[in-house]
Every structure is written in structure tokens, then in C-alpha cells.
């Protein structure tokens, strides 16, 4: 009975693997199709779409724009998120639960609602739609994830190390910079990669807060709406390989961190 169950369940697992991989594999294959029309069967193959994309200024600009937004918003998220985590972890004070609740709020708001709330607030703050507005919205949206990751790491820091540093004459600032911060570095690295990917992949905030310059997901969306061609597959494949590689590397990195 158990044996049957096991075989049945492993079939379900591999069917699920197929379900999550096959659409992506098909999408990658379609980028090599030697025809303007997306669709099966693929009769002959070509690399033209890729060479076309590599020389396409619009795509390259959008790519650079997305990377710049991802990096800058991640820097802000990490600074703010680490600060909030240091305040919240291991301290009890009046209003702590309320601050924690407000901290995780942006992660719980459904995408479209968060995007338009940011759009309205950007006007109040006087931020014009464009790169600055996108960076700001991504930074705020990603702070909760940084706080949660850094807090988890901080909770495992032995208190005795800080006390030892203080006994040896370090003031709280130096104790933070020399003991706490180095201990947090792996968590901060992990959170950074997570934020980079969230920002790079984000569509809804970039769409509603963007100006005329599209980010890569917004560009792909616009191209999809105006008609499909294997060119989009080539662009999407490049984005896919990049994000998947960073994701896998981050996964290995955090696993090594947890082993230490």
C-alpha cells in the first residue's frame, strides 16, 4: 500500500516538475524559430532573433534601466531594512507590535493596490513618474523582506559576544560595526539578491510609476500587447537565464551560510 502510494506520489511530483518547466522550455525553444509567427511546429531554426536583440537599442536600454533600478532600490531597502530589524529584534518596548505590523504591511498589500497607492503618494510627495518613482516604490515594497531575513539572522547572534565587546571598551556603535554587522553580512547578501530579483522582475509598480522609459518587464508587456514575435522570446530568454542563474546562486549561497 505504502509502496503504491510512494510511486503514485513521485509521479505527481514529476508531473508537477514538468508543469513548472515545460512552459519555460517551450518559450526558450520558440526564440530559435525561423519564422515571424509564434506557434508550433518549429520547422527550421535560427539565431537571428538573438543577434537582433543584442543590437536593439530599445531592449538594451530597458535592460540597463531595469538593472540600475534594481541596484539602487536594493541599496535603500537594505539600509532601511537592517536599521528596522536592529530596532525590532530582541527588544521589547511600547508599540513594538504596531511598528512590526506597519513594517510588514507593504508585503501583504495585493500588487495592483500597492502600485496605485504608490502612484497617488508619489504625486503628494512631488515625485514625477519615472526612474526615481520606480526606485522609491521598489525600495519601500522590498523593505519587509529585508527586515524578516535580517531579524531571523540577528536572533541567532550570541548576546555574549556583544557583552564581551562592551566589556573590552567598545561603545555601542563600534560593537555594532565590529560584531553585529559582520555577523549579519550573509543575511544582508541573501536579502540583497532577493530584492534585486524582486525589483528586476516587478511589473505592476514599474508599469504604474514609470514614465516613457520602459523597464524590461514593461517593454516585454508592451511588445506582447502589440503582437507576438520570436523576438520577445529571445528577450524573455535572456531575462530568464539571468534571473534563474542569480536565483540558483543565491540559493546555494544561503545554504552554505546556514551550514556555517
Amino acid at each position: 500500500m505504502t509502496r503504491h502510494n510512494r510511486i503514485l506520489l513521485s509521479c505527481v511530483y514529476w508531473a508537477f516538475v514538468a508543469y513548472v518547466f515545460i512552459p519555460l522550455i517551450l518559450m526558450v525553444m520558440m526564440g530559435f524559430k525561423d519564422s515571424k509567427f509564434i506557434g508550433f511546429p518549429i520547422k527550421s531554426w535560427t539565431l537571428d532573433w538573438y543577434t537582433g536583440v543584442m543590437g536593439d537599442a530599445e531592449t538594451l536600454t530597458a535592460f540597463g534601466y531595469s538593472v540600475a533600478i534594481a541596484v539602487l532600490s536594493t541599496v535603500v531597502s537594505i539600509l532601511v531594512g537592517t536599521w528596522i530589524a536592529v530596532l525590532l529584534e530582541g527588544r521589547s518596548f511600547w508599540g513594538r507590535a504596531a511598528i512590526f505590523g506597519m513594517t510588514v504591511l507593504p508585503a501583504l498589500i495585493p500588487g495592483i493596490i500597492s502600485a496605485i497607492a504608490f502612484r497617488i503618494y508619489a504625486r503628494l510627495l512631488g515625485i514625477e513618474p519615472g526612474m526615481g518613482a520606480i526606485i522609491w516604490s521598489h525600495a519601500v515594497h522590498n523593505v519587509p523582506f529585508v527586515v524578516l531575513v535580517v531579524m531571523a539572522r540577528l536572533s541567532t547572534l550570541p548576546k555574549s559576544q556583544i557583552e564581551a565587546a562592551r566589556d573590552l571598551g567598545a561603545d555601542p556603535l563600534i560593537a555594532f560595526l565590529r560584531i553585529t554587522f559582520p555577523y549579519l553580512v550573509p543575511a544582508i547578501m541573501g536579502a540583497s539578491i532577493f530584492c534585486l530579483l524582486l525589483s528586476f522582475d516587478d511589473f505592476v509598480r514599474s508599469f504604474f510609476l514609470g514614465g516613457y522609459e520602459p523597464t524590461l518587464p514593461v517593454l516585454i508587456f508592451a511588445k506582447l500587447k502589440s503582437g507576438m514575435s520570436p523576438e520577445i522570446n529571445a528577450i524573455a530568454t535572456v531575462a530568464l537565464i539571468l534571473t534563474a542563474l542569480i536565483g540558483v546562486w543565491a540559493e546555494r549561497f544561503t545554504r552554505r551560510m546556514n551550514k556555517d
Partner: protein, 325 residues
């Protein structure tokens, strides 16, 4: 300066000045800063707390409050010299037009159905990983599933379009098997939208289920088996009740996420499957004068989603309590 000279200078200096940190703590401006910061535990705490508190209030709560305020004003942006009035007319608009409340209820019912489908799809997968795989391989098999989920929303939506299109892979296979003569129009229906949304959210269900199942000791099932419970009874009376917490957090997460999708319904859905996100988004494409209505609709959706998930969690808690009797 030669190496010896440097070394001599270093050893001549007091111990605290040798390193970067020693020099820093002896540096005048830094000392002033440190004394200012650490003058009292109270001041130290205030300096630590003031920035995070201001940040969460202005950046996390601020946008929602401003959206609420805009939704209650009669005109936004305010024209110079015109007085602003509070009104609930934008909320009333929602009930007046079928074009508004139909997508709203469609979104909620779709999200419920898709959440349930995700649960049915991922529970066996999580069960297999947690109960039938050795801990060594478990991480590897889980990682394999994580890879596609690093890929962005738009790219994965596009992948589903290629899968389900009229000249897509599914139709090709069906034709090749001789099951159909002409392609089945999967695309631009609630079916294609469902496949897309389940595809995008499956991981958020899988991870809570997996961690709930992993925590469950195998001995419980063995004990139930010793007492004569069959496989189905063991699942229904032991495994399922003890993983309700994972089910409840996974469902909440997936429900909230799937109500918020904008691009996926636009690309995969059709005219008959307009969701509320598209309705809300529509008010922000045209010139700004419709913002209050859009804001009001967003508030309605947020409150409805929160109420639904909160009551769902309440029911799940009651179920859990009922089972531990």
C-alpha cells in the same frame, strides 16, 4: 618610510591607536558623536528608533492613508482656488454600475477557485517531498522546483501563452494524437487565466505546506496505523488536521497575491474575464481626474480581501481547535 620605521611608530603608539577601529574611537569628532549618542540609554534608544518609526509611518502607512483621503475627496487633483469637499460618492459609484461590481465579484470568486486548485495541486507534491524523500535529496528536489519561480511574472505569463495558444504546444499534441481536428481556443478564457495564476502562485502554497508537513512527526501516523487506521483515515484524522495551519497560511498568501495580479489577466484573459485589477488600473491611465474613483475601488478591494482572509483564518483556527478536543 621603511617597514621598520612603520613598525616602530606603530609599537610606540598606545595600543588603542594601532588599528583602524582604535584610531576611529580616538578621533575627536567620532568621540563627540559617541558621547552624544550614548549619553543615556534613553537617548540611545530614541536615536535608534526615530528613523524606523518615521519611515514606516510615512512610507508604509502613508501611501494607504493618502489613497483613503483621495478616495473621499470630490475632485483630485485640487484645482487652485476651489474648496475640497469630503464625499462618499466614489464608493457609491461602485454599486451603481454592473461594469464595476461584476469584475469585483469575479475577482473574488476566481481567486477563491484558483487558490483551491493551487492547494489541490501542491498538497501531494509537498506531501511527497516531506514524507517520502530522504532528507538528503529533499533539498535538491525542492530546489529544482524553486528555479522556475525566480523567473518574473511577465516572462512566465508569456510562457503560458505559448503553451495554450491556438498554435501552442497543447493543441499541437492533441492534434498529433488525433483527438482534435481544429485547435481548442484555450486562450483569453478563465481557463487560461487560471492556468497562468496557478502557475505563478504555486510556490507560495507549496512552501508553507511543505514546512507544515515536515514538522509533523512520522510517529503520529505509525501510532494511528497501530491502532488500526487505514491510509485514508490516517490522512483525514491525523495528517490533514495537523497541517491546517500550513494550509491556512498558504491559502491566505495565494489568495491575496492572486487578487492583485494585473498583467496576467490582461494578457491571458479576455473581455468576459475582466478582473477588478483592470477596472482599478483603468482609472489611472486616463487623465488624472478619475483618481478618486480608482482609489475608492482599491480601498473596497483591499478591505474585502482582508475581511475574507481574516474570516477564513478564523474558521481555520476554529477547525483546529475542534480537532484537538
Amino acid at each position: 618610510m621603511t617597514y621598520e620605521a612603520t613598525a616602530r611608530k606603530d609599537s610606540a603608539a598606545p595600543a588603542s591607536e594601532r588599528t583602524f577601529w582604535g584610531r576611529l574611537s580616538g578621533w575627536g569628532p567620532y568621540m563627540a558623536l559617541a558621547t552624544f549618542v550614548t549619553a543615556s540609554p534613553r537617548r540611545q534608544f530614541l536615536l535608534l528608533a526615530i528613523f524606523p518609526v518615521l519611515w514606516v509611518l510615512t512610507q508604509h502607512v502613508g501611501p494607504m492613508l493618502q489613497m483613503l483621503r483621495v478616495s473621499l475627496t470630490d475632485a483630485y487633483p485640487v484645482a487652485p482656488g476651489v474648496e475640497q469637499h469630503l464625499t462618499i460618492e466614489h464608493y457609491l459609484k461602485f454599486f451603481q454600475d454592473q461594469l464595476f461590481w461584476q469584475p469585483f465579484f469575479r475577482t473574488l470568486s476566481f481567486a477563491t477557485v484558483f487558490t483551491f486548485c493551487t492547494l489541490l495541486l501542491t498538497y501531494p507534491v509537498a506531501y511527497f517531498l516531506a514524507r517520502h524523500v530522504s532528507p538528503k535529496n529533499r533539498m535538491l528536489l525542492l530546489l529544482l522546483l524553486l528555479i522556475p519561480f525566480w523567473v518574473g511574472e511577465i516572462v512566465r505569463t508569456f510562457a503560458i501563452m505559448i503553451l495554450l495558444g491556438n498554435t501552442g504546444a497543447v493543441n499541437l499534441v492533441l492534434k498529433w494524437l488525433g483527438l482534435i481536428d481544429r485547435p481548442i481556443p484555450f486562450m483569453y478564457t478563465s481557463f487560461s487565466m487560471g492556468v497562468g495564476i496557478v502557475y505563478l502562485t504555486a510556490l507560495y502554497m507549496l512552501l508553507p505546506l511543505y514546512s507544515a508537513l515536515e514538522k509533523l512527526p512520522k510517529s503520529y501516523n505509525e501510532a494511528a496505523a497501530d491502532l488500526g487506521a487505514g491510509a485514508w483515515t490516517r490522512f483525514r484524522r491525523v495528517t490533514l488536521p495537523l497541517t491546517l495551519e500550513g494550509i491556512s497560511s498558504g491559502c491566505t498568501l495565494v489568495f491575496l497575491i492572486s487578487t492583485g495580479f494585473y498583467a496576467t489577466p490582461v494578457l491571458l484573459g479576455g473581455p468576459s474575464t475582466t478582473v477588478f485589477a483592470e477596472t482599478i488600473g483603468g482609472f489611472f491611465h486616463v487623465a488624472g481626474d478619475q483618481w478618486p474613483t480608482g482609489a475608492a475601488f482599491a480601498i473596497i478591494m483591499f478591505v474585502a480581501a482582508l475581511l475574507l482572509t481574516a474570516s477564513f483564518q478564523k474558521i481555520m483556527t476554529l477547525l483546529r481547535k475542534g480537532d484537538t478536543r
